[in-house]
């Protein structure tokens, strides 16, 4: 089993008082709570901080933790031989090699994370799981099936903790988009004493696409056009998630202008679809042939167009 230094995680001394531990927890929770934090590793850090606080705020668990001795964070260790009997812990594991320290402390006093509706002695619902599923935009457009590997924690009929690998196949319906959540009822951890199984929540995260940007169910596509296409208008072909379509660029179009292709975005779960916005970008050839240069120079001489005329007003 790997040692975790709960005091170092909270940034307090080993002799810190309850108030000091609570203050340190609150300060770090405010910084890393996944519901309010934008820190890149917020979820992972908050789990560490919560785990440390869950143990150190409880005087019995803290005493049990202290009696494990001092080790380096990440160092392999075994609790002293009489530790389990002294603290009434039910390890439920013959081999402690793969056991997480948090499981050990969860078995002290029956605490079991965020299980919903837990009442001592009564039916205990299984733990909810929350997993982020990364999808390509095309997969979101068409729908897909994903296979998820979870390390499921549950309490067996004997009241002991167990952690078992669990594979779940889930169908992702077409039209999900970035940031949405799906709930799979009963696919979380197993309940105990007749309690229902927990639920599995899937957070949808879309990989960045090389062409399209996603906002809700709308898509944005940069569409380069030649200066003469912008000035004279043109019918051009552009890609969509459903194949290529033709689009009319009106004469006199400007760079940055958005043209809307209704219903060509991501499908919506209850019917309809978002839109595709073509963001025009007037592209100028970086190398001109001799003839192109002459024609541009001729245009410059002939045109009265002043793109900065409004500066003089």
């Amino acid at each position: 089993m790997k040692y975790k230094d709960y005091y170092a995680i909270l940034g307090v001394a080993r002799g810190a008082g309850e108030d000091e531990i609570k203050k340190a927890y609150r300060r770090l929770a405010r910084k890393y709570h996944p519901d309010v934090s934008k820190e890149p590793n917020a979820e992972e850090r908050f789990k560490e901080v919560s785990e440390a606080y869950e143990t150190l705020k409880d005087s019995e668990k803290r005493a049990a933790y202290d009696s494990l001795g001092r080790h380096r964070a990440g160092q392999d260790f075994r609790p002293p031989p009489d530790w389990f009997s002294r603290y009434g812990a039910e390890p439920g594991f013959s081999d402690l090699g793969g056991v997480d320290l948090s499981d050990l402390f969860a078995s002290l006093g029956g605490g079991f994370g965020r299980a919903r509706g837990f009442r001592p002695g009564g039916p205990m619902p299984g733990e909810d799981y929350e997993v982020t599923v990364h999808l390509g935009l095309e997969e979101a457009f068409r729908g897909t099936e994903v296979e998820l590997q979870l390390a499921a924690r549950s309490i067996g009929p004997d009241g002991r903790l167990a952690r078992t690998p669990k594979t779940i196949r889930a169908r992702i319906p077409r039209g999900v988009t970035d940031g949405q959540k799906l709930r799979l009822r009963g696919k979380g951890g197993a309940g105990a004493r007749g309690g229902p199984a927990g639920d599995l929540y899937l957070n949808i995260a879309l990989h960045p696409h090389r062409l399209f940007r996603v906002s809700g169910h709308d898509l944005y596509l940069d569409v380069p056009v030649a200066p003469w296409e912008a000035a004279l208008g043109a019918t051009i072909e552009i890609p969509t998630l459903d194949g290529r379509v033709t689009m009319k660029v009106p004469a006199g179009s400007n760079g940055g202008q958005r043209l809307r292709l209704a219903g060509k975005g991501l499908p919506k779960p209850h019917g309809g679809a978002g839109d595709l916005y073509a963001v025009l970008n007037v592209a100028v050839p970086s190398v001109l042939s001799e003839r192109e240069r002459r024609l541009f120079e001729e245009l410059r001489g002939a045109s009265s167009f002043d793109p900065r005329g409004h500066f003089a007003q």
């Binding site: 709570h33 919560s50 919903r116 999900v176 709930r183 009822r185 963001v279």
Partner: protein
């Protein structure tokens, strides 16, 4: 077939389901409705239905309540800010999408 629900505004869930799935008690949900954090449809609590997206916020509420020991009034205020931040993030994302790369 999976018993799957997309937690979006178009689907609706009853109070009992929100309570069971979120970890909030009925009394806490009623208090949060009174403070304006949730706006159910239906006259009496027994008839209330919520958009399925409310479950995302309710689960966040349960976590925030437990992790910061918040009372319903303070929790409702935090949830209002959480929602506001999410709305603004959506607007920022849309504006960023409009800009050519």
């Amino acid at each position: 077939m999976d018993d799957m629900m997309l937690l979006a505004a178009h689907a609706r869930i009853a109070l009992a389901e929100l309570e069971a799935a979120s970890g909030l008690s009925r009394a806490e949900i009623v208090a949060l409705v009174e403070y304006g954090a949730f706006a159910p449809e239906g006259a009496a609590a027994a008839e209330w239905t919520f958009p399925a997206s409310a479950l995302v916020l309710a689960r966040a509420a349960a976590r925030l309540r437990a992790d910061f020991e918040l009372e319903p009034a303070g929790l409702a205020l935090v949830l209002a800010y959480v929602e506001r931040v999410r709305e603004l993030e959506g607007i920022v994302q849309e504006l960023e999408c409009r800009l050519p790369r």
